[in-house]
């Protein structure tokens, strides 16, 4: 029997657990439900970004992101906001880029019109928890369109399998009167196994993309990317933790020489520099970076009531060479 995933996060009652007293089946069942919820609730892979990118008619545009996915996901849901210039026009979208199945959508032109939601469902071929590129492709046949927003999340699971990818717990085995076993996906030990294998990351932290355009730089001096550095906050893990570690990577190239991208955290001043020399576009090897961790005693979770913000600066290779960056991704890999 598969592990049912609750729609609403369960709240096991701590007051029912008394030191020296037996723990009731009600508590174990709630814990089992919470464990299933942690594995079945989908994570946000690409928090909403605004490419503000014009897709020229008949020229498909690919938007790339990078993250470490979770093993329980079987579908990704892409949501786009696209604005056209001619009423009644349409686009087609597919994910992943070049290999996904095209799906057509109507686009609107004006803010007052009922804006159709462009939602694309990407069925995954396998379940995996690996770092990978996430891509989506947009094509318009008769007019230029503007991609105003893109986001992507793992679809929630209604139930989980009893295997190492899903860690589904059969809650029937936690019920009152049921014997207690040492099994991987049944009974009390399954709660421990699920907790031990929990992948409860807030996966997507921050992304930026220009689609098939590129942020370019020739001079060997730095140029900031964002008009304003973007807020970031890692999840808190250990009880004493005040910071969190994330990974970041860039889809970039240079025509020659060495270029670099520097990531800087506003709160701590911590920075990390990625240097690249590749002459064809590729994702750089992911690098670790420390940002503020959530303060779970604060009303809004911010550490010291301040916003930690991330800025990127590109330094060109200098001379006659050009550095180009199409995408930058930051994600929780811990």
């Amino acid at each position: 029997m598969t592990g049912t995933v609750p729609f609403i996060r369960p709240a096991p009652d701590e007051s029912l657990i008394r030191i020296g007293q037996p723990v009731s089946a009600v508590t174990f069942d709630a814990l089992g439900g919470l464990a299933n919820w942690l594995h079945g609730k989908g994570a946000m892979l690409v928090p909403g970004v605004c490419p503000e990118r014009t897709v020229v008619k008949t020229t498909p545009e690919v938007f790339r992101f990078r993250a470490k996915t979770r093993s329980s996901a079987i579908q990704r849901v892409w949501a786009l906001q696209v604005r056209g210039t001619v009423a009644g026009a349409s686009v087609r979208i597919r994910a992943p880029a070049t290999t996904g199945t095209w799906s057509p959508y109507y686009v609107a032109t004006d803010s007052l019109l009922a804006r159709p939601r462009l939602v694309y469902i990407e069925d995954l071929p396998i379940r995996s928890a690996t770092e990978k590129e996430l891509s989506i492709e947009v094509e318009s046949s008769v007019q230029n369109v503007t991609v105003e927003a893109i986001s992507c999340y793992e679809q929630d699971r209604p139930s989980l399998a009893a295997d190492t990818d899903d860690r589904g717990i059969d809650r029937f085995t936690l019920g009152s009167g049921q014997p207690m076993f040492e099994l991987a996906y049944d009974s009390v030990s399954a709660i421990y196994n699920s907790m031990n294998a929990a992948d409860a990351r807030r996966v997507g932290i921050l992304h930026w993309t220009m689609g098939d355009g590129a942020w370019t730089r020739v001079t060997a001096s730095s140029q900031n990317l964002f008009q304003l550095a973007v807020p970031v906050l890692a999840r808190k893990l250990a009880r004493s933790a005040t910071t969190g570690s994330v990974k970041w990577s860039a889809y970039c190239k240079t025509t020659g020489g060495t270029a670099s991208i520097k990531a800087t955290s506003s709160h701590s001043g911590v920075n990390d520099t990625l240097s690249f020399t590749n002459t064809t576009y590729a994702w750089s090897t992911a690098r670790s970076f420390t940002i503020d961790g959530e303060d779970i005693t604060a009303a809004d979770g911010r550490k010291a009531a301040s916003w930690d913000e991330l800025q990127f600066a590109l330094t060109g290779p200098g001379g006659a060479n050009t550095a180009s960056v199409k995408s930058i991704s930051v994600w929780d890999d811990s």
Binding site: T2, L38, P47, L112, Y153, F226
Partner: protein, 232 residues
């Protein structure tokens, strides 16, 4: 605020096997504590939209309400600037005074915007709603609506607050009465390449609409941030 007893993960080094007895202390401090803490911190970043400088992208570097920009808007009416989503907001049970209720995770919100003429005031509203309800929800004064105004043309994060009793300067939250109203069923699969199934979700957009006191003054949206927080 934390819902876990210890406010952080506790690694005990104790594993459950057929030979190791466990007591209620282990259940509370390891199983309950860690699972609830993981769930607290499973709050997702929903929007992190920073705009590059216009010289980088070749685009204007901000979004505007097309209706206001085209000069056909009415002063002080709200018009759509951007929509992010939909996404399934995280909903949890909370128990207080022996009453269990369903509520959504809070959401940290931040908006960066400017007034095109540096004279007249523009107002931005960032709010959560089902995609089809944006045009009506924007006019609701409640805690799932965040409002910030400016007369400045200098790019910067705006100071604002939620429009309900919370009056929070950094967060919004969907009122409990709307959770059931907005819950919907979404088609999916039971397993990989499997049979059809459905999940219940509260699917919402993070919408940003704007108004202007002067029909010739255009609101410019320069950045948006929205991230869930378990908070109580």
């Amino acid at each position: 605020m934390s819902s876990s007893p210890l406010g952080g993960r506790l690694l005990t080094g104790v594993s459950l096997d057929g030979l190791t007895p466990i007591g209620s202390g282990y259940v509370r401090d390891s199983l309950l504590n860690n699972l609830t803490h993981y769930a607290d911190e499973y709050a997702q970043v929903r929007v992190a939209a920073g705009f590059a400088a216009s010289g980088i992208t070749g685009s204007q570097g901000y979004l505007t309400p097309p209706t206001i920009a085209s000069g056909v808007a009415r002063a002080d009416d709200y018009y759509r600037v951007a929509e992010f989503g939909p996404f399934p907001i995280t909903v949890t049970q909370r128990t207080a005074s022996n009453t269990t209720r369903n509520s959504a995770y809070r959401m940290r919100v931040r908006i960066a915007g400017t007034s095109s003429d540096n004279v007249h005031s523009v107002t931005f509203r960032a709010f959560l709603s089902p995609p089809s309800d944006a045009a009506t929800t924007v006019y609701v004064d409640d805690d799932h609506v965040f409002q910030a105004s400016t007369t400045s043309s200098t790019v910067g994060w705006l100071t604002g607050q939620s429009m309900g009793l919370d009056a929070s300067t950094t967060t919004i939250v969907i009122p409990e009465r709307l959770i059931g109203l907005w819950a919907t069923n979404t088609a999916t699969l039971a397993e990989l390449a499997g049979n059809p199934a459905s999940v219940q979700q509260v699917l919402v957009n993070l919408n940003v609409w704007a108004s202007s006191t002067n029909t010739a003054t255009v609101p410019h949206l320069h950045a948006v941030y929205a991230a869930e927080y378990c908070g109580l």
